[in-house]
């Protein structure tokens, strides 16, 4: 093989391979566009006013909506945030500001471990811990399961963003004679606020679509479920139930619900990222 042909073939390989990587990128990004487009077409088309205002109809009847599932999801996510975020946030503050070596290592290690636990296993845990002991399925059990899932990311994002706060700020506040807790509460944490809020929002977006841990904690409900001690309907569980049903009308509603859920999650996700990028921008100036 001559040098010239070798060079030509090397350039051929170069172009082909680089072209391929571009193609792969387009395929993957295309998958997202396809999913969004498909859900938009099939979901938005099947959305109506009743979807947001009515209760589900008895099995096999057409019509009705998922008003209770929307409220149920909001309620469970609210509880999950109330459980997962404070613990995770304070734990993150501990790791970033107080942690001593071996205990902090253990906390960090187990947080990672918790983060890796498959959601279905969290479901088992919440079932044995809450449902079996309380003797009923409840919104609280569902909130508990999702709350547990929120802890690790809360911890790690809080820690990460607190660490990113320049030390000068801390020292400046302490030098003025401010007690450490006051310096943290009024200077350091506010400085990391955008990052921490972003972390919470991304966290929320992640658990908002969780189905598996809710199957045996909040179960489902055809009616409104007052309070937090009753089985409760949620959007993801409704999508699962309706998608596997043999009724065309339920399939339509599953698409509509999928669309609503996805829009909700993407909105949280995108606005979280916007908060972060804006804060980095203003911080960088």
């Amino acid at each position: 093989m001559t040098e010239a042909t070798r060079l030509r073939s090397r350039h051929m390989v170069n172009n082909v391979m680089l072209g391929l990587t571009g193609l792969f990128t387009i395929i993957i990004a295309g998958a997202l566009l396809f999913i969004l487009g498909y859900l938009f077409i099939n979901g938005a088309r099947n959305l109506d006013f009743a979807f947001f205002t009515q209760l589900p109809k008895p099995t096999g009847e057409t019509g009705g909506g998922m008003a209770n599932a929307i409220v149920g999801s909001a309620k469970i996510l609210g509880m999950a945030t109330a459980i997962g975020v404070p613990i995770g946030f304070l734990g993150g503050v501990y790791l970033a500001e107080y942690g001593n070596k071996s205990f902090a290592f253990a906390v960090r290690y187990l947080t990672d471990l918790l983060n890796g636990v498959p959601s279905i296993v969290i479901g088992i845990f919440a079932f044995t811990l809450v449902v079996l002991k309380a003797k009923h399925f409840s919104a609280f059990a569902g909130g508990m399961a999702l709350g547990l899932m929120m802890i690790p990311i809360s911890v790690r994002s809080t820690e990460e963003f607190l660490r990113a706060v320049p030390n000068g700020l801390r020292e400046g506040a302490l030098a003025l004679g401010t007690p450490k807790w006051r310096a943290l509460a009024t200077v350091v944490i506010p400085a990391a606020k955008d990052g921490i809020i972003t972390g919470i929002m991304l966290n929320l977006a992640r658990v908002a679509g969780e189905t598996a841990p809710l199957l045996f904690t909040s179960l489902n409900n055809r009616f409104w479920s007052p309070g937090i001690n009753q089985p409760t309907s949620t959007l993801p569980v409704m999508i699962y139930t309706y998608a596997l049903s043999p009724y065309d009308d339920w399939h339509r509603q599953a698409w509509a619900a999928g669309f609503v859920l996805l829009m909700l999650i993407l909105t949280i996700n995108v606005s979280a990222r916007m908060i972060l990028s804006r804060s980095r921008y203003s911080g960088g100036r």
Binding site: L18, I35, L90, G91, L184, P190, F216
Partner: protein
């Protein structure tokens, strides 16, 4: 850089910082200093996290003891799952879980790493950021929606287009033999591939971006083509991190429940053909956990949970070990 932050901070410093009940705070302050309270509060929270995780492992361990005592290691090596006879073996589920995840990796790794190369090495930063953003959003799509799409879109498409092609070209191998009904390990693998792609792309891209520029420049200066410098220098340099991203994705796919349950066919069997339906650990727990009618059955399911837990912990640990040595995680990709 600091000035604007400080300004912002000072502006907010006037806002009372804590939200605790002032009465209670004053009361507590009489006995402890604020610092002691704050330290106690955060330490308790940290300890709580520790406690919860330990409790989780403990509950799984205690609530599976009947199955562990009765079957021992045979639980993992036998295939019969017969609730009526009280015989429980996890092999078919482990098989289904591993095979579908493997199929997913087979598809997702070349695609994902390829895309990561494009995004880190070729695309202009603005385009790269925009595309990465899109790809990371894929990770935000809920599992149950992937299942929905898998059932109503992917399954019919595969049946109509991909299956005849595979059958025609590779039908002679046991991997692609036998009839195809729709729900199958193949469909589950493909759905999983889409679900794990964002993790591979996002982490691999970060790892590749972290490769120092002189590596690239050195290779190019020696007359290497762009591809050669990327493939022979940059990628090997980032190898550990890329492996890490793959393990991270693997851990995800092993524990994935809803999408798999909806498309895998829920049949506990060990078949060589990817066209055959199978069953995964997570899927069987989702399907049978609420209805296991006696204790040994429940304990066997929880032991399955324990097995899944152990599997993902090991894989996740490997991933973190590999990635943390090369690049930092972003919040969204953990």
């Amino acid at each position: 850089m600091h000035s604007s932050e400080t300004l912002k901070v000072q502006g907010e410093a006037r806002v009372p910082g804590t939200k605790r009940n002032p009465g209670a705070r004053a009361f507590a302050l009489r006995f402890f200093s604020g610092d002691e309270i704050a330290r106690a509060l955060v330490t308790i929270s940290a300890a709580l996290i520790l406690l919860v995780t330990v409790l989780l492992v403990y509950e799984l361990w205690i609530n599976s003891h009947l199955a562990r005592e009765k079957f021992g290691w045979h639980f993992l090596t036998t295939q019969v799952w017969d609730p009526n006879a009280g015989q429980f073996g996890a092999l078919a589920f482990v098989f289904g879980t591993v095979v579908t995840s493997f199929v997913a990796l087979l598809i997702a790794v070349p695609l994902g790493v390829g895309a990561a190369i494009f995004l880190s090495e070729l695309a202009p930063p603005k385009l790269s950021n925009a595309l990465t953003f899109c790809i990371e959003l894929l990770a935000a799509v809920p599992s149950v929606i992937y299942g929905l799409l898998g059932v109503f879109v992917l399954m019919p498409l595969i049946k109509q287009y991909l299956h005849p092609v595979l059958k025609g070209t590779l039908g002679w191998t046991p991997l692609f033999s036998g009839p195809f009904y729709g729900p199958s390990m193949l469909v589950a693998g493909i759905v999983l591939a889409v679900m794990i792609l964002p993790f591979i792309v996002s982490v691999s891209r970060q790892v590749l971006l972290a490769v120092p520029n002189d590596q690239r420049e050195g290779a190019l200066a020696l007359g290497a083509t762009k591809w050669e410098s990327t493939w022979k220098v940059v990628v090997p340099f980032a190898q550990r991190g890329i492996y890490g991203s793959v393990f991270l994705a693997l851990a995800r796919s092993l524990g994935e429940t809803m999408a798999v349950t909806m498309v895998i066919g829920n049949t506990p069997q060990i078949k060589a053909s990817l066209f055959a339906p199978g069953y995964s650990i997570a899927a069987v727990i989702a399907n049978e956990f609420t209805e296991a009618t006696y204790d040994l059955y429940v304990h066997s399911l929880i032991e399955l949970g324990l097995v899944l837990f152990a599997l993902t912990i090991i894989i996740n640990g490997l991933a973190r070990l590999l990635v943390s040595s090369t690049a930092k995680f972003s919040v969204s990709s953990t």
